[in-house]
Symmetry: C2
C-alpha cells in the first residue's frame, strides 16, 4: 500500500429540491456572481429561470455557450476577463463537467496576472482561485468532487488535464432530477466516462482489497443504473445512484493507497477529442477494450481475472487468459449494449492522422510510465485496432 496525502473539502448537497439552499450558500461568498453555462439546455429544463429567481438581489454576470471539450479560446479567456472586469466574488457553474472544468480554469485565471495557459500547463503554480459553486446537470466527469479540469486549445490540438487543490468546488449541488432530460447518447457516454475513471484506477500494480471492492461496486452500480436510466429516463433512484457513482470517480476514493496507473485511456482519448472534438465518454468506450486487449499479458492477467470474476461474474475456474478475454469482450459488449458507437470511424475518425496523434500522445502523456507502459508504437496499434 502506497503513502498518500488526501483531502476533499467540497461540500456535496445531494437530492431532489436541494437547490432551495442556493441563496444561503452563495451569500457566504459575496454578491457578484459569474454564472457559467453551456448551450442552453439549462434554459430548456427551467433551471436557468429557477437560478435567476433564487438569486434575485445578487449581481449576476453571464458567460454562456461553453462547449463540450471546453475551449481555452474563447471561453476561458472571456471568463477570466469578465471576472477581472466585474470584480467577481464567486463562480456559479450550471451544467455538466465541461462547464465546470471551464469554470475551474476561469477561477484560477481570475486570480493570476499572467497567461492562464501557464497555470493549466503547470508552468506556474496557482496561488489562489475564486470559489466555485456548481449545479450539476450531467452525471459523468466527477469534476464536481475533484480538483481537476480538462481544457482544449484548438490551434495546437492540445487537450490538457490539470489539477490544483484550489480548484475543488466549494459546494456542489447534485439534484438527480436535473439529469432526467439528458439524452440517451449523453447518458451512455457519461456512464462510459465514469466507468473508465474507475477502470483507470483499478488496473494498477498494487491495489488494496478495499479499493478493489469499491471499484467493482462502482462499476456494477454504473452498469445496472445506466441501463435503468436508458429504459426510463425519469427513474429517480437510478439517476441518483448513477450521479453519485460518477461524482466519486476522480476524487481519489477509489484508489487511495494504490500505485499510480497513468490513466492511459484518458491519455489516448484526450488526443482524439483534441483533434476531432468527439464526445469524451464515447472516445473512452472505444479505446478501453482495445487498450485492454493490447496490455493483456502474463503480468497483467491477474488483474483481468479479478475484474472479470468480480464485475462480470465470469466463472473463476476457467483458465486465466480465457477469463481475461471474456472480461474484455463483456466490457465491449456492455458499451455497445448502451448504444455507444464502438469504432472510431463511427465518430468521424479515419486513419489519416493516427500516426500524428500517436506521436502527440507519446510526447505529451507520459504513458511510458503507465501500469502497462505504452510506447508510440503501442499507442498507434491501439488506435488502429479502434478504427
Amino acid at each position: 500500500m502506497q503513502n498518500f496525502d488526501y483531502m476533499t473539502p467540497t461540500r456535496l448537497i445531494f437530492g431532489e429540491g436541494v437547490i432551495s439552499q442556493l441563496p444561503k450558500v452563495m451569500s457566504a461568498f459575496g454578491k457578484k456572481i459569474l454564472l457559467t453555462y453551456g448551450g442552453g439546455s439549462i434554459k430548456k429544463i427551467g433551471l436557468y429561470d429557477k437560478v435567476k429567481e433564487l438569486l434575485d438581489g445578487f449581481e449576476i454576470i453571464e458567460l454562456s455557450d461553453i462547449q463540450p471539450n471546453p475551449k481555452y479560446d474563447p471561453s476561458v479567456l472571456e471568463g477570466v476577463r469578465l471576472c477581472k472586469e466585474h470584480n467577481i466574488d464567486v463562480i456559479l457553474s450550471v451544467g455538466g463537467g465541461s462547464v465546470l472544468d471551464c469554470s475551474k480554469a476561469i477561477a484560477a485565471g481570475a486570480k493570476y496576472d499572467g497567461d492562464v495557459w501557464d497555470l493549466i500547463t503547470y508552468k506556474v503554480k496557482a496561488q489562489a482561485a475564486l470559489p466555485i459553486v456548481d449545479i450539476l446537470t450531467l452525471a459523468a466527469t466527477g469534476s464536481e468532487y475533484d480538483s481537476g479540469g480538462v481544457i482544449s486549445r484548438t490551434e495546437t490540438n492540445d487537450k490538457i488535464g490539470y489539477m490544483d487543490p484550489h480548484l475543488y468546488p466549494a459546494v456542489s449541488f447534485l439534484d438527480p432530477t436535473y439529469t432526467f432530460s439528458v439524452s440517451k447518447k449523453q447518458t451512455a457516454a457519461g456512464c462510459a466516462d465514469a466507468m473508465n475513471h474507475i477502470i483507470e484506477q483499478y488496473f494498477c500494480e498494487d491495489a488494496t482489497l478495499l479499493n478493489d471492492g469499491f471499484c467493482e461496486a462502482g462499476l456494477k452500480s454504473l452498469m445496472i443504473n445506466a441501463k435503468k436510466c436508458l429504459d426510463d429516463p425519469r427513474d429517480y433512484t437510478a439517476r441518483a445512484e448513477m450521479m453519485f457513482a460518477c461524482t466519486l470517480g476522480c476524487n481519489g476514493i477509489y484508489s487511495l493507497g494504490n500505485s499510480p496507473s497513468g490513466w492511459p485511456c484518458h491519455g489516448i482519448e484526450h488526443a482524439l477529442s483534441a483533434y476531432y472534438d468527439i464526445t469524451h465518454g464515447e472516445g473512452l468506450a472505444i479505446i478501453t477494450p482495445r487498450w485492454m486487449t493490447h496490455i493483456l499479458s502474463d503480468k497483467t492477467v491477474g488483474r483481468f481475472v479479478k475484474y472479470g470474476v468480480n464485475v462480470f461474474d465470469i466463472d473463476s475456474t476457467l483458465p486465466p487468459f480465457e477469463i481475461a478475454e471474456k472480461a474484455i469482450k463483456a466490457t465491449y459488449d456492455f458499451f455497445e449494449s448502451i448504444g455507444i458507437p464502438m469504432h472510431l470511424k463511427d465518430v468521424g475518425i479515419d486513419d489519416s492522422r493516427i500516426s500524428e496523434m500517436a506521436h502527440h500522445i507519446a510526447v505529451n502523456e507520459g504513458l511510458e510510465n503507465a501500469y502497462a507502459p505504452l510506447t508510440q508504437q503501442d499507442i498507434e496499434k491501439i488506435l488502429i485496432a479502434s478504427l
Copy 2:
C-alpha cells in the same frame, strides 16, 4: 435514495514515515500545543520522544492518562482547563480513538464559557472549537475522519456519542507502523468495532447498490486483514489496509444516501461500557450477532441474504432464512475466531443490572426509530441472549 449534505474537511496523511511532516503541519496552527495521550503506550513505541523531538521550539502542555471510554471527569474538564489557562492554539492527540474523542470534547470546551456537558448533550450548539491534529496508534474507531466523539460520565452511567462539524480533525497522521505493537486483544476489538460501524450502516431500509458494495468490501477487507495482523503483527500491508478501512468507518462514505439505521448495536453497547467500562469493540462483537438474531424477520431477511451471500459467500440458492441464519453464525464465528470473548459473562457482566441497562438504553438511545425498532423489552432480550 435519500438526500444528504456531506463534507469531510480532514486531511489524511497516510503511510510509513509521514510524521516527518508534523512540524510543518503544526506550525500552521500556532505555537502552543496541548499534547494529549493515554496510558503511556506511545512512550513504549518511541512515539512520544519522536513527537517531542520534532516539535522542539513549540510550547507543549501535556494531558496524559486519558482512559479508554474517555471520562468527562477528570480528562475532559482538565483538558479544557489547560487550554484556557495556557491559551492553547491547537490540540495534538497521540493515541487511539479514546484519546482523540476526549481531545474533541476538549477542543469544543476550550471555546465555550459554560459547562462542556451542555455541548456533549446538545443542549448548546458549539460555535467553534480548537483545531485538532492527531497521530493515530490504533485502527478502530474512525474518529480520525469523523466529527464525532464518545464521552463517558461515570457517576450517571452515561456514555454519550455526539457529533459537531467543528470537530473534524484538521489533519490525521496515519502511520500503520504505529499499530505494529497493538495487542491481539485490541487488534481484534478494533476490527470488531470497525466491522460493526459498517454493519450499522448496511442494515437499513433503503441502501444504494454502491453503498452495499462499499460496505461488503469494507467488511471483507477488515476480516481478511485483521486475521493477517493477528498472524503477523508487523505485516505492513495488512496493518495499512486495516487502518484505512477503519478510518472510513464513521465518516459517512459507507452510507451516503442510505436511510438512517439508528446504530442500534452502538446504542446498546454504550450502556455496557458506561456501566461496566468494558472494551467497546468487544461489547459490540458480543451484541451484534444477538441483535441480528433478534431482528431477523420477513421484513429484514432480504438484507441478511445479501449480507450472507456477498460477505460470507453463502450459497445464494438456499432458502432466505437459512442464508440469514448462516450469515449470523458466520458473524459470530468470525469474532470468536479472532479471540474475542463472545459472552457478557466473559467480560464481567452478569444479569444483575440487565433491566436497569435496558431501561437506560430505551430512554436515551432512540432505538424505537431504528431500522428494526427496539423497545425496552427487545433490548432486554438481546442483552439476556448475550449473557
